[in-house]
Amino acid sequence: MSNVDDNQLHDRLERLSKIDPTKAASDRAAKRVRDTLMNDEAIPSPGRRLLLIPKLAAAAVLLIGVAFLAGRLSAPESVDVEVLQANLENSLKSSLETTIRQELLDEMENRLQSALAAERNTLKQELRQQVAHDLDVFAEKTLTAVGNMTDQRFMEFARMVEAARIKDRQRVAAAFEYMGSRFGDGLVTLAAQTNKRQGTNHNIGVETN
């Protein structure tokens, strides 16, 4: 039925019974338990903690009661109702005035917005046509002005070119005149020299003869 007989089982149990811990381990365990128990004294157990809860609750209730009584006793005497009403009125007035004003402004703005919304498309169309017309007029005027300006500039340019051409012709004429006068003088001088030389040669021939 089983691979382990009673003797083997008893042998095993006996071996277990002969296991002994070391003295050091035993002392260490005892010291550890002793320390734990000593420290545990300082720590309240769960049961003690449970007992503390009603005490703490009672203390809290007492504290709240004392605080309430102190508050009631130290409270100022009854106030003047009329003054309080006036103060309240002023306070409400100052706080409500700005709010009401703002709400009125908002309401007006909304109404204006809704009234303008209907005319919006028509206004947009008219505005577009007006702007297109204005732009056409402006373009036409600009083109005319630019054309006139260009013509004027061209005419000035032509005039300046003509003046420059006349001046150049005058200079060329003066140069030719000068050159002509100088050429004439040269010819006269050359003729005189030629005559002079011819006269000299004739005299020499006569003397030789």
């Binding site: 071996r15 296991i19 002994d20 811990p21």
Partner: protein, 171 residues
């Protein structure tokens, strides 16, 4: 509360070494036995059962056995690390033999953990703590005959558990 601590310190002085040895035998580890020893006394310091117990030493031992087997159940695969297992009669002291012996002890303790609490307590007291039937009967509030019968039945049951474990391993 101070009185409880005084009582526990007294119990520690009188039975501390015995309880620690029992925890070491049941866990096969001194470090775990130390942990469980501390847990045991913390448990006892908050236990209402200790006040009602007529024999506080027996109550503490029972709590120690339960703690040890609870630990065994949650750490079944824990390795055997105890250094001071006494040598066996066999001349063969090879590491393999030592390992097999350790494995056998572990197996026996795991089988013990599967017994009912009363049977397990009786077996532990009789065979691991080597106490007499009369003493066990006195501690458990039973007659000597009842304890003897209980131990006998528990051994048979233990043998069946170990045997079935062997068959599972062989399969």
């Amino acid at each position: 509360m101070k009185n409880r601590h005084k009582e526990l310190l007294g119990l520690l002085d009188t039975s501390g070494a015995e309880l620690f040895a029992l925890l070491t035998r049941l866990t096969l580890r001194e470090d775990i036995a130390e942990e469980l020893m501390q847990d045991l006394f913390i448990k006892l310091s908050h236990s209402k059962g200790l006040d009602k117990a007529t024999n506080r030493r027996a109550y503490a031992r029972k709590a120690a056995i339960n703690l040890a087997f609870d630990w065994r159940r949650s750490h079944r695969r824990a390795a055997l690390r105890l250094q001071r297992v006494r040598r066996q009669a066999s001349n063969d002291d090879s590491p393999l033999t030592q390992m097999m012996h350790s494995e056998e002890l572990r197996e026996t303790l795991d089988a013990l953990a599967q017994l009912k609490k009363a049977s397990r307590e009786a077996l532990v007291m009789r065979y691991i703590q080597q106490e007499s039937y009369d003493h066990i009967a006195e501690q458990m509030g039973k007659t000597s005959h009842q304890v003897r019968a209980m131990c006998s039945r528990a051994v048979q049951h233990l043998r069946r558990i170990v045997g079935s474990n062997h068959r599972h391993h062989n399969i």
